[in-house]
Structure formats: structure tokens, C-alpha cells
Amino acid sequence: MLKVNNLSVKLDNKVILNDISFNISNNDMFMIIGPNGSGKTTIVKAIMGDIKYTGNINLNNKNIKKMYVSDISKHIGVLMQNHNLEFDNTVYDIVSLGRYTYIKDMFGNLSDIDKTMIEEAMELTDIKKLRNSSINSISGGELQRVFLALVLAQNPDILILDEPTNHLDLKHQIDIFDILKKWSLKENKAIVAIIHDLNLVYKYATKSLLLKEGEIIACGDVRDSLTKETIKETYDMDIFDWMKTLLENWK
């Protein structure tokens, strides 16, 4: 579905990404991990055409550079890190924006299919009861679920999430990933997530990509790529031992 070949990015002569290649297929829960500044977000920016790069990114065998943003948005959805809203929108208003690319009516009126997709997305993210609430009156966890519903209503084949569980407590983090897993399996979709919590990666990912200073340390099936050695090499720290010691202390 999405093929990234020899992706390299340079900014002010500094190498941000060097020769990155990976494939995303249906049902993949592909998680990108690495220390801050390793180039994780740059991969998303390159896929979405926000920065200049060398190499090839193909979506369903088409060069993504040559596709219109309106076509890309039918296949790829992005859940952003920050949500800055200036005006007093309701939850339903925000979720319905996910249907933008499918709306044909000049005044932005929603079709029956649009309404069904919005309802399904709100059902899956459990925000139906918040439908008429102002976006300014809900909690951070609820806000993240509202924006997740927006991208689910967009009905993309691949959903990209840049640190989707930032600022959320553990329960809400698990909730978000449970929703994503359910959606991916039910709808036969792929998920690409940038994430810091290795436990969540181990629990939910099918594939992982470990990145350090713009280079791939390991990439592939999560059981093969996410090992004690690769994690140590990525973070310059024996996280495996550290977590083990921490767990023993809990006892």
C-alpha cells in the first residue's frame, strides 16, 4: 500500500534522514520509535509532502509527489499532535470536518453516507454523548478521541499518528490504542504511529522501526526488531534492564 524507498532528508546541510526504506500493508500496526531528534516526525512530514526529500514514496504504486492533496487525503489520514482551536465548535462540527474530501455540496451539506460515517466514528471512539458539547469544555483525553473520530470519519486506508497519546494518562493511552486496533482489524486498515512508550509498542505493534540520528537501527516484525540489543543501540541505554529492575522494585 505505502512503499518508502531510500528516503533521505537534509536540512541546512544536516542529514535528518538517511536512506530509509519500509513498506506498509493492510492491517499493519507500524510503530516508529527513537530518541528525540532522531527524525521520526520528519518521516511523516515527507510522506505528507511538507518537506523536500530524495528517494521515492509510492502510495498504491503511484508516486505520492505527483498526487493531489485531495487524492492523498482519501487514502492517508493524520492525527496531529496539537489541536489549536480558536472558535467555539461543537464535537459534532469537528468530527464532520473529516468528511471534507467527500463533500460535493457547494454549501458543505453532508450526505447520508457522510452522516453514517460520522456516527460510526463517534460510536467507535465513544464520544456520542459529547455530540453537542463545546470543544472548549471537554477534557484532554476526550479532545484526543474527538480528533481521532475526525480522522476515522475521513476513512483513510492508512492512519498516521504522531505521538497520539502525548499528555494522556495510561488508561486513556490504552483506550486510544484499543480503538485503533479494533478499527484496523475491522476495516482492514493500516496504522503508522510515532510513539515513545515501548510497552505500548510491544503490546500493540505488528511491525516496528527503530530510528537513531536519521538511520534505521532495526525494522520489521515487532518480535524480531524490538529486542534488548536494538533498543540499547537506539537509546544508548539498557532500557530492558532498567525496566526489569523497576518491575522488581514494584514487588
Binding site: 485531495s70 489549536n84 480558536e86 472558535f87 465548535n89 461543537t90 462540527d93 470536518l97 457547494m106 475526525l150
Partner: protein, 347 residues
């Protein structure tokens, strides 16, 4: 319970009714008072060729057709233009303090008018419209200058860069206008009066110039309702949802600025309308541009017709600059509504 859409439809219907009443009152009231029934019958006859108007004197018909009607139409178009442009700019820049002149286009038009008046420039053809044409040219030059500078500084044309460039250019343009004023102090009264705005020179020919441009801009802007809605979640979010953000933003900047530049060129700098009307509309109809844009136009048109009526009757036979009245009333109304709104929400 009534649905939000239905409530908005009712409010819209009532707003149109109020606007029509204001129009009839504005046309009827003035130094020569015209009977309301004469006004209604004459308008119906002029617009739709309905009814018999043989009992209405020729003088009254002349006042209606040549003075009052063009003035009310001009007030409506300028009021609707400034409010529409304000609503669009606030949406695009995600800033409730933005208005149609945020790109410095009104200040640019003012420089044009100041130069034309101070230097007494008259164009060989269309000499009657010299000030207007020179203002429009300057409005366009400022718009493209500001957009060029923004693009050079920041290729993504992010909101903050646009607002900052607009503010700086407006300050620069105001200084240039003041400089011209200081040098050519003979025309100071005429220039100051123009800068504060007036609809007194409205005429059928001016209406015929502004009307088609207004309609083209309105149709284009209304065709971008969905895009404006999506812009509410920010530029990156809009792009990821499939909006061609750059071209949408530039085209909406241009069409909104044309509306403002043209309005300033026709009637001078009328402040506060583009800022206060969309904000009031947002408090009533919330966040859907399907309602925000038409409501802003109707309310803006009503507001300017009403303030024009006040400006020409309150110290009759003299006339107050309309910009003074709009700012005075606009500020008071806005503070009152904001206070009540925040109090109701318990903020």
C-alpha cells in the same frame, strides 16, 4: 426542540426582514421626508415594474432614484463587503481580531486617495472616478506587496507572518499618509473627511461599478464555505483533510482584499464593521461558515445602512463621517454583547 440549523434559518429570515425595514426607513428619512408607502411602492415599481406610481411627484422620484436608493445600495454593498471580508480573514488567520484590512489593503487604498486628493490628480478618462481608481490601484499594489514580502519571509505563508506583515505595512502606510497630509496641509479637511469615511458621494454610476465586482467576490467566497470550515482546525489539519491550503488561502486573501480595497476606494475608511460584525455573528450562529458568511453580509449591510442614517440625520443639515458613527456604536455594541455572552457562559 428546534435543531440548530432551523434556529439559524429563522434568525436569517428575521435578519432579512429587519434589513428591509432599515432600508425603507433609510430611504424615506432625510432632509426631505418621504412617506413610507411611497418608498415601498416606488421601489417595487423600479425593481419589478409592479403598481402605479403616477401620484408620486417627480421631485420625490428623483430624490429616491438619484440620491437615496444609490446611497442605501452603496451602504449595503460596503457593509456586506467589509463584514464578509472580516469573517473570511478571521477564519483564515484563526484570529478573532483580524479583519478585511489585515493585509494592509485599506491603508494602501488610503495612501492612494490621499495622494490623489493632495496632488489633485485627475485621470484623463473617467476623471470623476480618479480618487476611486487610484485608491483601487494602490489597494492592489499593497496587497501584492504584502503577499510578496510574506512569501519571501515564509514560503508556507503561516498565519503569524501574515498578521505581522499586515500590521507593519498598515503602520508604514499610515505614516506615509500622515507625511502627505503634513506636506499638503491645504487639503487636510477633505483628506481627513475621506479617511473617516462617507457615503455622501454615492451615485448610480458608482453602484454600477462596485456591484459586479461585489457579486463575483461573493460567489467565489461562498464557494469556499467547506474549506473555511476545515481551516478552523488549522492549516496542517486542513491540508491533511485534502484542502489545497496555499491556493485556497491566497485566493481568499485576494478576493477579500478586493472587497475591502474597493469599499475603501468608494467610501473611505469605515472602521470596526469588519471586526465587530463577524464577531457578533459568531456569538449567534456559532462556527459553521454556511451561516457565518450570509449572516455577516446581512448584518453588515443593516449596520452600515443604520449608521449612515444616523450620521446624516443626527446633526442635519451637516453630516458626521460614518466611520466615527460605526466605531462609536460598534465598540459599545460589541462590549455589551461580549459582556453578556461571557456572563451567560459563566466565564
Amino acid at each position: 426542540m428546534l435543531k440548530k440549523t432551523n434556529i439559524n434559518n429563522y434568525i436569517f429570515f428575521i435578519s432579512i426582514l429587519i434589513y428591509l425595514i432599515i432600508c425603507i426607513v433609510s430611504i424615506s428619512v432625510g432632509s426631505v421626508k418621504i412617506n413610507f408607502s411611497y418608498t415601498i411602492r416606488a421601489i417595487l415599481n423600479i425593481l419589478f415594474n409592479i403598481g402605479d406610481i403616477s401620484d408620486i411627484s417627480e421631485t420625490i422620484m428623483t430624490i429616491l432614484i438619484n440620491i437615496r436608493l444609490p446611497r442605501v445600495i452603496m451602504a449595503s454593498i460596503v457593509g456586506a463587503s467589509l463584514s464578509l471580508a472580516g469573517a473570511v480573514m478571521q477564519g483564515l488567520l484563526k484570529n478573532p481580531l483580524a479583519d478585511g484590512s489585515s493585509l494592509g489593503v485599506a491603508s494602501g487604498a488610503s495612501i492612494g486617495a490621499t495622494i490623489a486628493i493632495a496632488l489633485g490628480i485627475t485621470l484623463p478618462i473617467l476623471s470623476e472616478f480618479s480618487i476611486i481608481i487610484i485608491s483601487i490601484i494602490f489597494a492592489f499594489l499593497s496587497l501584492f506587496f504584502v503577499l510578496y514580502v510574506v512569501k519571501k519571509i515564509d514560503s508556507k505563508m503561516s498565519t503569524n507572518t501574515v498578521i505581522l506583515a499586515g500590521v507593519i505595512f498598515s503602520m508604514f502606510a499610515s505614516s506615509v499618509s500622515s507625511l502627505i497630509l503634513a506636506i499638503f496641509s491645504n487639503d487636510i479637511k477633505k483628506i481627513v473627511f475621506w479617511t473617516l469615511g462617507s457615503l455622501s458621494s454615492s451615485s448610480i454610476s458608482k453602484v454600477l461599478i462596485i456591484l459586479p465586482i461585489f457579486l463575483i467576490c461573493v460567489v467565489y467566497i461562498l464557494s469556499k464555505i467547506s474549506e473555511l470550515n476545515v481551516f478552523q482546525i488549522g492549516e496542517d489539519g486542513a491540508k491533511y483533510l485534502g484542502v489545497n491550503t496555499k491556493s485556497t488561502k491566497i485566493s481568499l486573501f485576494i478576493f477579500s482584499s478586493v472587497l475591502v480595497g474597493m469599499s475603501v476606494a468608494m467610501t473611505g475608511n469605515i472602521g470596526f464593521v469588519g471586526l465587530v460584525i463577524p464577531s457578533i455573528v459568531r456569538m449567534v450562529v456559532k462556527t459553521d461558515y454556511k451561516f457565518i458568511l450570509p449572516f455577516s453580509m446581512i448584518l453588515g449591510a443593516s449596520f452600515l445602512c443604520l449608521t449612515d442614517l444616523i450620521s446624516r440625520t443626527i446633526i442635519a443639515p451637516s453630516e458626521l463621517p460614518i466611520g466615527t458613527v460605526t466605531s462609536l456604536f460598534g465598540a459599545v455594541i460589541f462590549v455589551y454583547i461580549l459582556y453578556n455572552f461571557k456572563k451567560r457562559k459563566g466565564v
